[in-house]
């Protein structure tokens, strides 16, 4: 199926001194989809995003937004996009309404146009009652909503969200997800970076896992999980010191594809649980391991991430909240 391409990135490289932040990236984003750039901090996703919004010039390679080059036609690109930076990109002394008025002028709206749109947006993000208070009195979630309203003010074809739910409480996160889905329903293309796996899994139509400036894999969450092959049996053991011996015992057995230790037990990737489960139980009995808990899972995005980068996403970020 041919789909309209909203963004095309072709052999993009960005080098800082001798450090390659982005290394030969090529991918396309379709119009109307929610596209995620998933990766740990420093993976290159922000650099990629900032190139697409014209704030960075690539060292080599090109990026186009709706067919316009982000360097040569930066001004055209800027009229087509909305940008929601990471939290705190807010002037604490201005009110919510003043933020939007300022941006209205920067997008060259007339006062009437701006007023109309600002009222609509304040309603949309549910900030009408707080619109005339300085932003320093806002909660984290309210600031985020204001951020999003700012990004939507130009009525963009493509909205860029940089870590939209970083540091937010669960309720605010769910609200933001709701907005993003609603925007997609209205036909907007949404490009977001995130280092939350569940967010990418829940929200994105397609996502690219980026690590070390390179795309490790790209596809819809379902495709990526299927590509991994095999379901997962997770064991939690009562005696943690038995984990290594059980691991050796299970490795290389028929119907078992791979075994990985976790903090409390083992994650065993199996071809078919029907064949593998008896083998696993037999092995634990033989070694006298008592099983505290056994769980059978389809692959999670965590597993996709680990398979492609060789480590868990949480290993490199200081967030307390993990995606499990």
């Amino acid at each position: 199926m041919d789909r309209t391409i909203a963004i095309n990135v072709n052999r993009l490289c960005k080098t800082y001194d001798s450090h390659k932040a982005v290394d030969d990236l090529s991918f396309s984003i379709y119009a109307g989809e929610i596209f995620g750039l998933l990766g740990p901090n420093g993976a290159g996703k922000s650099t990629t995003l900032r190139t697409l919004i014209t704030l960075l010039h690539p060292t080599s390679g090109t990026a186009t937004v709706m067919g316009h080059d982000t360097v040569r036609e930066a001004d055209t690109v800027r009229t087509l996009i909305g940008y929601v930076p990471q939290e705190r990109a807010i002037d604490r002394f201005l009110t919510g309404r003043e933020h939007l008025q300022l941006l209205g002028a920067l997008y060259h709206l007339t006062t009437d146009e701006a007023t109309k749109r600002i009222n609509e947006l304040l309603k949309l993000v549910d900030l009408e009652d707080h619109a005339d208070r300085p932003a320093k009195t806002y909660s984290g979630g309210m600031k985020r909503k204001l951020d999003i309203a700012c990004g939507l003010l130009p009525n963009p074809k493509i909205l860029f969200l940089d870590e939209p739910t970083l540091g937010l409480d669960v309720q605010s996160r769910l609200r933001i997800w709701e907005y993003v889905r609603m925007l997609k329903a209205r036909g907007m293309t949404v490009v977001m970076t995130t280092n939350y796996l569940d967010e990418a899994d829940q929200l994105c139509d397609r996502l690219a896992i980026i690590d070390g400036g390179k795309i490790k894999t790209l596809g819809s969450p379902v495709e990526l999980k299927i590509a991994l092959g095999g379901d997962i049996v997770s064991l939690t053991l009562k005696e943690l010191d038995r984990i290594p011996s059980l691991e050796t015992e299970l490795k290389g057995r028929p119907a078992i594809k791979s075994v990985r230790t976790t903090t409390k037990g083992l994650d065993i990737r199996v071809e078919s649980p029907e064949k593998a489960l008896p083998a696993i139980l037999e092995a634990t009995n033989r070694l006298g391991c008592s099983i505290e808990f056994i769980q059978y899972n389809r692959p999670r995005l965590d597993d996709v991430f680990i398979a492609h980068t060789g480590r868990a996403i949480t290993e490199s970020i200081p967030e307390t909240e993990s995606a499990s």
Binding site: R50, I53, T54, L55, L56, H57, D75, R78, T79, I81, Y83, P85, Q86, R88, A89, I90, D91, F93, L94, E98, Q101, L102, L103, A105, L106, Y107, H108, P134, C150, P154
Partner: protein, 259 residues
Amino acid sequence: MEHYWQEISALTMRWVRRLSREKFSMLFTLVQPMLFWLIFFGNLFQRAADTQVMQAPNYISFLAAGVVIMTVLNNGLAGGVDLLFDKENGFLERLMSTPIHRTSVILSRFIFVMAITSMQVLVILGVSYLFGVHPATGILGVATILLIGMMFGVGLTAISMAMAFSVKSHGDFFSVLGFLSLPMIFLSSALVPLTAMPGWMSFLAQFNPMTWAIDAVRPLILSGWTEALPHVGMVILVMLVFDALCLYGGAKAFRRAMG
């Protein structure tokens, strides 16, 4: 052109709004210290200072020109601070991702800093007036003082912005700022005339653009046009060169930071 104006006025309005909500801190950090110099330092040294050496009827009238230019110095060097914070919290990125002319943000800052500085200079001159310092060249002289102040201020603000765009953290910014401003004041004719300085200090002070500015403002306040005009002509030349250098450096730093 119409768009450009819309952008600049909206961005300038933002600085004005911020100021109107930060009244107290602004009042205390910017206006007050300069007034203290004038009121306390000026009166404190009233009898200690030798009017023969000062070539002025009293110390406070000598000091007025210095305090005017010190106000310009402080405001100018601090002029980039807000852009630094905008850079650090991502607000600048938000602004730059909109289809505005690349220079709008900077120009709005220049306009705002210059307007505030002018007002503060007028306050300083007003307070001096209350202490009996009446500018010898009248209203036109005051306008000339403002012009000199603006010309000096533009270069200083450009330096400050260049620093804001180049430094890694705001800690660095404030250390450099603190390091710069006092030597600039002491190695100038703000507090004593060059003739009264130790040789090495007066030698260094000659190269300080601040000295040139003060030496033009002082006769505008103390003596009159005949005495002042050659200095004014000279300082305008010096400031043109100074501004050109600073703006060139500022533009380079901005381009490097903004890609």
